[in-house]
Every structure is written in structure tokens, then in C-alpha cells.
């Protein structure tokens, strides 16, 4: 089953995108080490590989893969104890993901107790008999899905993606976010496998995920509009992309998750996200915090405008600006939402897209700034960052061509 899923997954989205993202991550890691690649850096780079692989193939890895991803991210974040921002980020993730994992497991156990079997498909068959009171599974089912929703980063759990993008180093954050989000999708898919045989449950789950997606779009869009720090904007855009996947999972055969559905939706979504997020996260490191008064452009746009534009392309793709592969991801979700007959989800999605577009344009203007009157600063942006930005943009352009 796992092998077949991995095969289908690789057919849908060849692993070029995670490889490019991994290369960008390694380049940024080498930049942090100032060109010196010692044993510690090599270890960190080695950890990035499973993270990139998790971004590409998490469903094939199952629950063990999820735990591995969680552990690796925590370990990498906790490594640098002197970095306050990073430590705070680790604690927040640990609190929230740990608690979500515990609660979701409690939900899973509750379902097992109610049905007398730990096998998910059998649980639906038992529940379909109607022997147990409704409130038992109606309580257990949402709790068991909690980890998936939290990991996807949809609001009100959108903070962790922004925290990670701001707190974690640029070589780790994008891969970690995508790996965690794909793990969340995998959790949902695993928990909802075969639910189509239990109609009441399928309907309840579709409604639940639709509400979660609506909330993710509405709150995420509002949050995005008030944010000023580029890294946090990128993080919130990532969480909105998580909302997109949530909506797709909710509407794919009306809440029927499972391996078949996830293999049809997630690979394309994740291969875009990993590239766009890598590019946008690197770009965000070179942009200033937004100010009410326009200022001169940062050094990236003064000395290496082409690399800056490449980074902006990645950010635009994340925001779903027309002409980028990300627009296709947003549009696919919009079509799924229109077919679902739930106008409120569509309204929230429209709002989120407009907010994303506005913020992307605002970011462009802030990046280019006002015309400077003095010569640009002498220090250039390191070549590693520029190459990483270019690689991500090239990958996105290739994706756009492939998807057309």
C-alpha cells in the first residue's frame, strides 16, 4: 500500500521541487556557516534531507514519518540554545504540537474504545451499525483530527508557521513548515481513510473541515493585512496555503479523505509550496520591516535586482498572483469550493486571496522603495542567497510550464 502510494505520488509530482528546495536550504546553511562546512553543519544538512523527503513523501511514511519530522524539527530548533527567538519558537511548537498530538491520540483511543477496533476502516463499519450513541463518535472524531488541522497551520493555529519563519534559520524554516504541513495532511488522510462507507461521519467531517477552512481563510487574511514583518507575512501565507489544502481535503469527494484522495491533491500542492516558500523565506531575510513612510530599497534590490525579482516571484506564487504556479493552486481550490455549494467558504477564500494579493503588491512596493539619492552600500548580498533565490524562481517557472 505504502509503496503503491509513493509510486503514484512520484508520478503526480516528480521530486525535483524538494531537491531544489533542499539545495537552496544547503546553500543558506553554508551561508550561515560563512563557507565553513564542519561536522555540525554536515549533520544539520543531513537532517534537512529527511525533511525535504517528508515534504515530498510524508503519506508514504505514515505516522512514524510524522513523529520523525516533529522530532527532527524540534531537535534542530533546540540545538541553538542561545538564540532566544529560536528557543521561544521551539517551546511554542512543543507546547502546541505536543498537546495536539496528545489530544488527537485521546480521540483516536476514544474511537477505538467505542468501536472495539483500532483499524480505521473497521471503525466506520461498526459506527454505521448505529449501536453506539452519536455523541461519542461526534466528540471523538473532531478531537482525533485536531493534530492534522494544527499541523496544516490553518487559523487559529496559523501562528506557528509565522513563528517558525521568523524564529528559525532560513535554511531550516521552509522545509520544516512544508514537512509539518504535509504530515498534517497525512494525519487527516490516515484518520479519514474509507469514511465514505459511513455517510453521517463523512458529512460531519466535510462540514467540520469546511468550517476550519473558512476560519483559516478569514482569520489568516485579516492577520496578513496587519502584519508588517516580511517573515511573518510569508509564514501567514504558508498557513493560508495550509487552509487551501484543508479546503481541498474537505471537498474532495465531500470530506472523504484517504490515500487515493491525498495522492491526487497533495503532491502538486506540496511541490509548489516547498519551492515558493523556500524562495519567499530567503527573500524575507533581506527585506526591511514595513514602515508607514516609504524608504529607500534594501541592498538586495539596489545591487542585485534580478535576484530580488526572483524572490518576489516566489512570494507572488505563494500569494496566488496570476501568472505564477500558485495561482493554479488557489484557483483549483476555488473551483472545488464553488462545486461544494458552500458559499461561505468561497467568500472567505476570495477574501484571503485578495488580502494575499494586496500584501504581495505592498511587499513589492516596500522592497523597491523610493528612488535612492546616494550610492548603494558596498557589501553585496552573498552569492549563495542569490543562487538560492534564482533556483527557486526557476523551479517555479518550470512548474508553471509543466502545469500548463
Amino acid at each position: 500500500m505504502t509503496g503503491e502510494l509513493a509510486k503514484r505520488w512520484l508520478e503526480t509530482a516528480p521530486p525535483a521541487a524538494p531537491v531544489v528546495a533542499l539545495a537552496a536550504g544547503v546553500l543558506m546553511l553554508s551561508l550561515e556557516r560563512r563557507g565553513r562546512f564542519d561536522a555540525s553543519a554536515l549533520g544539520a544538512a543531513a537532517v534537512l534531507v529527511p525533511l525535504a523527503a517528508a515534504g515530498a513523501l510524508a503519506p508514504a511514511a505514515g505516522s512514524t514519518g510524522l513523529l520523525l519530522v516533529l522530532g527532527l524539527v524540534m531537535a534542530l530548533l533546540a540545538r541553538d540554545r542561545d538564540n532566544l527567538l529560536q528557543s521561544e519558537c521551539t517551546i511554542k511548537l512543543l507546547w502546541v504540537l505536543g498537546a495536539a498530538l496528545a489530544l488527537s491520540w485521546a480521540g483516536v483511543m476514544l474511537l477505538s474504545l467505542a468501536t472495539g477496533t483500532p483499524v480505521v476502516i473497521e471503525q466506520w463499519a461498526v459506527l454505521n451499525l448505529g449501536l453506539d450513541p452519536d455523541f461519542l463518535w461526534r466528540t471523538a472524531l473532531p478531537i482525533s483530527l485536531l493534530l492534522g488541522v494544527v499541523l496544516l497551520g490553518g487559523a487559529p493555529f496559523h501562528f506557528w508557521a509565522a513563528d517558525l519563519l521568523q524564529g528559525a534559520p532560513a535554511w531550516l524554516a521552509p522545509l520544516a513548515v512544508v514537512a509539518l504541513q504535509v504530515s498534517g495532511a497525512e494525519w487527516l488522510a490516515a484518520r479519514l481513510s474509507g469514511i465514505e462507507s459511513f455517510h453521517a461521519g463523512a458529512r460531519a467531517v466535510a462540514d467540520l473541515l469546511a468550517i476550519a477552512a473558512t476560519l483559516a481563510f478569514a482569520v489568516g487574511g485579516l492577520t496578513l493585512l496587519v502584519q508588517r514583518r516580511p517573515e511573518r507575512r510569508v509564514g501567514t501565507l504558508a498557513s493560508l496555503n495550509g487552509g487551501l489544502l484543508l479546503a481541498r481535503l474537505a471537498f474532495a469527494r465531500e470530506g472523504l479523505g484517504g490515500a487515493g484522495v491525498i495522492a491526487g491533491i497533495v503532491p502538486r500542492w506540496s511541490s509548489h509550496l516547498v519551492l515558493a516558500l523556500s524562495g519567499a523565506a530567503i527573500l524575507a531575510r533581506f527585506l526591511p520591516v514595513a514602515d508607514a513612510r516609504p524608504d529607500t530599497p534594501p541592498v538586495l534590490f539596489r545591487r542585485h535586482a534580478v535576484a530580488g525579482i526572483a524572490g518576489l516571484y516566489a512570494l507572488f506564487s505563494l500569494a496566488g498572483v496570476p501568472g505564477t504556479p500558485g495561482a493554479g493552486v488557489w484557483l483549483d481550490t476555488a473551483h472545488a469550493a464553488t462545486r461544494s455549494g458552500r458559499p461561505w467558504v468561497m467568500l472567505a477564500l476570495t477574501f484571503a486571496w485578495i488580502a494575499s494579493l494586496s500584501v504581495a503588491m505592498r511587499q513589492l512596493r516596500e522592497a523597491v522603495g523610493i528612488a535612492p539619492r546616494v550610492a548603494p552600500p558596498p557589501e553585496p548580498v552573498p552569492w549563495q542567497a542569490r543562487v538560492a533565490l534564482g533556483a527557486c524562481a526557476a523551479g517555479l517557472v518550470a512548474q508553471l510550464k509543466l502545469w500548463k
Binding site: I91, K92, T139, P156, R302, L331, A337, M346, I370
Partner: protein, 463 residues
């Protein structure tokens, strides 16, 4: 070596880049696709921004013209809805109300109608904001543009862009609530613009506001739907084109006013063009077409037509020649050709409208034409001071009425700004209160998660 951004930011770079962006943007606005229109407005906004960022007072200019992204965003919204609902472009529905769409939505149906209403409102928002018809940017025509070379007439481009959006994507006229709201807002804009044009003493400032008046009247004609789109476009082109040409001419040594004959020709041409536009607009928004709403809208249009005609005909005075040695000009200049074209275009557009089925009743025609004719007559009479003595005695009234017009405009803008500031304050207060709810501590997230889980457990039990 300078980067591309640096190169485009210095020397003649901003001028050329801005002009290229603006030209491309305006051209795209006339394309039938909403994507092209959204892209076009984005490019026009980008041109203003690019000019602004290169100006001496760049921070001020960039902030001043940043609102121009709002209309572009509104068009992106309309485009997104059309992309998500491809059937919107295919379906041709009769006029329906937004309230009905909401009621249907509450019953679980009517999604398509709701989104059609939103798309129509977005298109109207974009058009109205560019036409200075929304309180957010009412007074932009009082400000010079961000680009030094053509600062004076640059804001005249924006109402024209607004008209282009409303004319090209006229599906909004099919949504009753959106159409009626737009009609009322356009009427108010036309009145305020005419008052402002009257209150301003400088001819260039008056012309900028007359362009807004022309575009608002033309948009009212689009909303009324009494004449064919081609005729509407030609009528707008004649009236607005005349004022834009005069405005551009002021930058070229007041060429349209150099000489008694050319001044008379331009006076006649712009007067006829404005009357040609005002006449069908008044009919389209009269009781026969608009019902009870015309009781509010028609007087506004009549007042605007009369006042704008008065200003157009009466304010254009022959510019005195100050040179001692005159340059030999050709008998027929570009200014002459343009004036003749404007003179012919208005009546020709009316002919096209008649050919397309515009055959109003003579009473409606008379009522529609009367304000413009009275305004033009008063303008001519005041300039010639006939009957003798009467206009001299009314001079004091003129000064007082200009002051009154200025105060009315200022009062409306003041009230609108206060209301907006109050709304902004309320939003800030709510957002601040919500922001204060969370501290950002790690423990807080844990508590939130646990609270949510408890809620998930308790809610089904309560059911």
C-alpha cells in the same frame, strides 16, 4: 554597474518607465477581458507609484497616490470571481436585486447571484473610486500628479480610466442595487465636481474638475442604458476629450485660447459636446427610465449640466498676446482640427444613438436640453454683459456663489472624512481590543488549544 532598478530610477528612466506603464495600462483598460482591465489598472497605479518614488518629495507622493491600488484590487476581485464561476460570463440574467440574492443564499441557494452581485460591486467600486465618486478619494483632482513634466493634467487621466472600466464592463447595470447605488453616487459626484470647477478660479483647476463632471455624466448614461455603448463612448469622447485637450493645451502656452477665432471655436465645440452628452444623460435618468429615483437624480443632473455649460462657455476667455513679434502660424493648426472634430463628434454620436433606437419624446428632450442651453446662454450673456448693467450688478452674487460652492464642497468632504475617521477609529478600537486579548506567550497557545479541545468535547454533549 547599476542594477536595473537603479537604472530605471535615475535620469530619464522614471519618465519613460512611467509613460510606458501608463500607456500600456490605459490601452489594456479598453480590452473586453476583466483580467486585462485589472492588469491595466495595476499598471496605471504602478506608473503613478514609479513617478512618485522618483519625485523630490517621494515619500509624500508615494503615500498620496497609494490609494490607486484599491481600484485595481477591486477589479482583481471581480476577475477572481469570474475565474471561479466561469458560468457568470455565459449567463444573461434579467435585472435582479442584491437583497433577493442574500435571501436565496440564506436558504442555501443563490450562490451564483451573490457572487454576481459582489463582482458587479467590485467593478463599480473600481470605476467610482477613479471617478472621485467615493468618499475615500474625493478631492484628488485638486492635487497635481506625481510626475513633474505633466503634473497638472495627470489626474485627469483617472476619471477617464474610471469611465473606461464602467463602460467596458457594464454587466454591473444588470444588478439593480449596485446600479441604483452607483447612479446616486455618480449624481452626487457630478454635482460636487461642477461646484468645485465653479469655485476654483484657475482655469486649469476648473478644467480638471470638468473632466470629472464629464466622466460622471457619461457613467450615468452607461447606468441609464438609453443609448448604445458606441454612442455613449463617442459622447464621452467628445465632452471629456474637449476638456482634456484644453487642459493639455494650457501647458502648451494656452494654444486653444490664442486668438479670438480659435477661442470662439473651442467655446462652441466644447459647449456643444457637453450639451450632447448632458441631453441623453438627463433623459436616461428621467422619470421615464429611472422611476422614483429620478426625483433625486434628475435635478442633480440638470444642475450639473447647466453649471458645467456655464463654466465651459463663460470661463474660456481669449488669452492676450504678449509677444511683440508674432510667429507666423499656419492657417489650420492641430488645435483647429481638434476643435472641429469635437464640434462634429457630439452631434455625430447623437446620430449614432438615434440610429440605435434612441428616440425620446419631445417633452423629455426639451427638459433634458433646457439646463445645458440655459447654462450656455448665461455664460455667453455674462461674458458679453448683455443685457447691459444686469451682469454688472450680479457680480457680487457671483463672488458670493463661488464662495458658497467652495464651502459646500469643503463641507461634504469634511463630513465624509469625519465619518471615515470614526469608522477607522472604531475598527482600530476593536482590533486593538482583540490584539490585547493575547500576549504571544507560549503558554497561551497551549491554553488556547486545551480550551478548544474542551469545547469540542462539551459542544456535542450539549446537543
Amino acid at each position: 554597474m547599476r542594477s536595473p532598478v537603479e537604472w530605471l530610477s535615475r535620469g530619464s528612466g522614471p519618465r519613460r518607465t512611467g509613460i510606458a506603464l501608463c500607456t500600456a495600462g490605459v490601452a489594456l483598460l479598453w480590452a473586453p477581458s476583466l483580467l486585462a482591465a485589472a492588469l491595466g489598472l495595476e499598471l496605471v497605479a504602478a506608473a503613478f507609484w514609479w513617478w512618485g518614488r522618483a519625485a523630490e518629495d517621494a515619500p509624500q507622493q508615494v503615500t498620496r497616490w497609494s490609494w490607486m491600488r484599491r481600484p485595481a484590487t477591486a477589479l482583481w476581485l471581480a476577475f477572481a470571481i469570474h475565474a471561479a464561476f466561469p458560468m457568470l460570463a455565459q449567463a444573461h440574467h434579467s435585472v435582479f436585486s442584491a437583497r433577493g440574492a442574500l435571501l436565496e443564499l440564506a436558504r442555501g441557494a443563490g450562490t451564483l447571484d451573490l457572487f454576481r452581485t459582489i463582482a458587479a460591486a467590485a467593478v463599480v467600486w473600481a470605476g467610482l473610486e477613479l471617478l472621485a465618486a467615493l468618499p475615500l478619494t474625493r478631492a484628488f483632482s485638486d492635487l497635481p500628479g506625481p510626475f513633474l513634466g505633466v503634473r497638472i493634467w495627470l489626474p485627469a487621466l483617472l476619471p477617464a480610466a474610471g469611465f473606461a472600466v464602467l463602460w467596458r464592463h457594464d454587466e454591473w447595470t444588470q444588478v439593480a442595487a449596485v446600479r441604483q447605488t452607483a447612479i446616486v453616487l455618480l449624481m452626487i459626484t457630478a454635482v460636487l465636481a461642477a461646484l468645485r470647477a465653479y469655485a476654483r478660479r484657475a482655469w486649469t483647476a476648473s478644467l480638471r474638475w470638468l473632466v470629472v463632471t464629464d466622466c460622471a455624466l457619461a457613467a450615468l448614461l452607461v447606468a441609464g442604458g438609453a443609448v448604445t455603448p458606441t454612442a455613449t463612448l463617442l459622447l464621452w469622447l467628445a465632452a471629456c476629450g474637449a476638456h482634456v485637450f484644453l487642459l493639455a493645451g494650457e501647458l502648451r502656452g494656452s494654444a486653444p485660447r490664442r486668438g479670438a477665432q480659435i477661442t470662439r471655436l473651442w467655446r462652441a465645440a466644447s459647449g456643444v459636446a457637453l450639451a450632447s452628452l448632458a441631453w441623453p444623460t438627463a433623459i436616461a435618468n428621467g422619470p421615464g427610465h429611472l422611476g422614483r429615483l429620478s426625483g433625486v437624480v434628475w435635478p442633480g443632473i440638470a444642475f450639473t449640466s447647466g453649471l458645467a455649460e456655464w463654466i465651459t462657455v463663460g470661463r474660456m476667455v481669449h488669452a492676450e498676446e504678449r509677444r511683440k513679434v508674432m510667429r507666423a502660424d499656419p492657417a489650420l493648426t492641430l488645435t483647429h482640427v481638434a476643435a472641429l472634430l469635437v464640434l462634429v463628434l457630439g452631434p455625430f454620436a447623437l446620430l449614432v444613438a438615434w440610429w440605435g433606437g434612441f428616440e425620446p419624446h419631445w417633452r423629455e428632450s426639451l427638459a433634458g436640453l433646457l439646463p445645458a442651453v440655459v447654462g450656455a446662454w448665461a455664460g455667453i450673456a455674462a461674458r458679453q454683459s448683455r443685457p447691459r448693467g444686469v451682469w454688472g450688478r450680479l457680480e457680487g452674487v457671483g463672488v458670493a456663489s463661488r464662495g458658497l460652492a467652495r464651502r459646500v464642497f469643503a463641507l461634504v468632504v469634511y463630513i465624509e472624512r469625519r465619518v471615515l475617521a470614526a469608522l477607522d477609529g472604531l475598527t482600530g478600537w476593536i482590533a486593538g481590543a482583540m490584539h490585547d486579548l493575547h500576549t504571544g506567550d507560549a503558554q497561551e497557545y497551549l491554553m488556547f488549544l486545551v480550551g478548544l479541545a474542551v469545547l469540542a468535547v462539551v459542544l456535542p454533549l450539549l446537543r
